[in-house]
């Protein structure tokens, strides 16, 4: 059964990589136990296939029993790579996947080692609400005594200050928790003073 799960995840990742580099028809022939190309009437795009696969992986990432497999299949790297895609949906799913699995110590260390904090901070400027919300939570989860100099850097704290005033309750709640639990009062104070003088910073997500 354990092997069955790994093969299934492997099939997903293989499928993803193949759709990425070649064409539609290739995909099914390399996946396990797929008899033929999907016979649905709707034409589907490469993009849709990638999104589906990534969503599946991100959802798998919610379950700790999959972490070992996901690491073996280098899905963490996949998520990190997808953060810089143009496709907003891919970014949303990738940061969601990271959010789901980053609390595990091994995963956390891996992400920090791989300099994952920077692309995650960049997600804070996304116009996609889910992306931003996942990014805030991921930063919280990735905060350690060593990493906090990065995760609670001044621009980030400034950003959180603005988010905490948002009418979007989910966002403002998370931002408030970030400021209260992960930042020191001097840090918050510094950010507050700075934002009084300049308008430079990470923009709020568009509605």
């Amino acid at each position: 059964m354990e092997l069955g799960r790994l093969e299934y995840l492997q099939a997903l990742v293989t499928e993803f990589q193949v759709t990425d580099s070649t064409g539609n028809e290739r995909r099914c022939s390399l996946a396990l136990s797929v008899s033929s190309v999907s016979s649905h009437a709707q034409p589907f795009s490469l993009t849709e296939a990638r999104e589906q696969v990534l969503a599946n992986l991100a959802n798998f990432a919610y379950d700790p029993s999959n972490y070992e497999y996901l690491r073996q299949l280098q899905v963490l790297d996949l998520f990190l790579d997808m953060l810089t895609e143009d496709n907003e949906t891919l970014v949303e799913f990738a940061i969601g996947g990271l959010c789901n699995l980053c609390l595990d110590k091994t995963n956390k260390e891996y992400i920090l080692e791989a300099n994952g904090v920077e692309p995650i901070i960049n997600c804070l400027s996304s116009s996609n609400e889910e992306t931003v919300v996942s990014a805030v939570t991921t930063l919280m989860f990735l905060t350690t005594p060593q990493s906090r100099v990065q995760t609670t850097a001044l621009p980030v704290v400034e950003c959180m200050l603005r988010f905490s005033l948002s009418a979007n309750t989910r966002l403002s709640n998370l931002a408030s928790i970030f400021l209260q639990d992960y930042c020191s009062p001097p840090q918050v104070e510094e950010a507050r003073n700075l934002s009084k003088h300049t308008a430079v910073g990470i923009p709020l997500p568009k509605d």
Partner: protein, 357 residues
């Protein structure tokens, strides 16, 4: 389509409430039997609060709440009059005591017919208070720490950290307050010792607990929803009696080791049994604690109250009472011994673990 940052407050419709069109382009090997929209579930999306749309406006709030209450204790519920609703339908908000229950309820009740109308159930995290969101995140931390056996690192690495212990209260962790004074330590906020009494009990029927192992694409669940069942794994309650032996009603709790002191841990069933065996073997080393002759059990937890000795004011009745009492005691003792027997064969679980490919 509603804007994400709408200023209508918690009651305003949000993008994540919108039903996505079902995905029709999924490859064969990934088809569940139900069409499913492409969506990623994170802890931010999930909530104890559920929004229920499509409730027929027939004055059925009571029935609705009763239906949902099957999945767990409900803390609050009310109609959302301001929320846009289809003609002849109403929208309700139901707040569960536990996230797990909300998860199950959502899965079961979404797209269910209710008094002739199709319900649409989704999470409503925007109704959470800051503290509720905070607790939700903390629960998720604790769950991961337990599930990945990482909860001990806090204790191991910070022997001198009395200051940290004080700061690690049930409210929230403050990494900034401690990193200054303990430069050498590797205190990681993710390492929490689990609070005793963290329970994940729900109204969830026990028959499905084996399904906590995620596998099959053909299986009818998305993995995020299956993983929600982990917190309520097969906990070792004394009700697991071998060989059909039924203890007398008044002594339903033989003094078996509650192996995790009420703290649930996610482990496959065979490992449960091995864990118990290991704990028992450990317990044998310290068997100073009151146990009888060959009793291999270490007693953890409160002693059962003594059966009150009643004076019936009549000699023959007292004799009968004593006889009954002794009989009960005798049966109770034999229950403890017979329950211990299967531990020797713990390598072979009596029930075959259900596998799914």
């Amino acid at each position: 389509k509603m804007a994400a940052g709408s200023s209508g407050g918690p009651g305003a419709p949000c993008r994540h409430h919108a039903q996505l069109g079902a995905c029709e382009t999924r490859a064969k090997y990934r088809e569940g039997w139900r069409p499913r929209a492409v969506k990623v579930y994170t802890i931010n999306l999930e909530s104890r609060y559920l929004l229920i749309q499509g409730v027929p406006a027939l004055g059925v709030m009571k029935e609705l709440v009763e239906q949902f209450a099957l999945y767990g204790a409900i803390e609050e519920y009310h109609a959302l009059d301001e929320y846009p609703a289809e003609q002849f339908t109403e929208v309700y908000l139901i707040k569960f005591k536990k996230l797990q229950c909300a998860r199950v309820a959502k899965k079961k009740m979404d797209e269910r017919s209710f008094f002739g109308s199709l319900l649409h159930v989704c999470y409503a995290p925007e109704f959470e208070t800051v503290q509720e969101t905070r607790e939700k995140l903390q629960d998720r931390r604790r769950y991961i720490a337990k599930a990945t056996n990482q909860r001990d690192c806090f204790v191991l690495k910070n022997v001198e950290g009395s200051k940290k212990t004080a700061s690690k209260n049930s409210e929230h962790d403050r990494p900034w307050s401690t990193s200054g004074s303990h430069a050498a330590s590797n205190w990681d906020p993710s390492c929490f010792t689990t609070a005793p009494g963290v329970s994940h009990n729900t109204a969830y029927p026990s028959g499905n607990q084996n399904q906590s192992l995620l596998t099959s694409p053909h299986y009818d669940n998305s993995c995020a929803e299956i993983s929600g069942y982990f917190g309520q794994n097969t906990s070792l309650t004394p009700s697991v009696h071998p060989g059909g032996h039924t203890p007398p009603a008044s002594l339903m709790q033989p003094r078996m080791v509650p192996a995790y002191n009420g703290i649930d841990r996610f482990m496959p069933r065979t490992t449960h049994l091995q864990e118990r065996k290991r704990k028992r073997e450990e317990g044998n080393k310290f068997s100073l604690i009151g146990t009888s002759e060959d009793n291999t059990e270490v007693v953890i937890g409160p002693q059962l109250p003594e059966i009150p000795k009643v004076d019936m004011d009549d000699e023959s009745l007292n004799t009968s009472a004593t006889l009954i009492r002794n009989k009960l005691k005798e049966v109770a003792d034999s229950v403890s011994t017979s329950v211990k027997k299967p531990e020797s064969s713990s390598a072979k679980p009596p029930v075959k673990q259900r596998r799914r490919i």
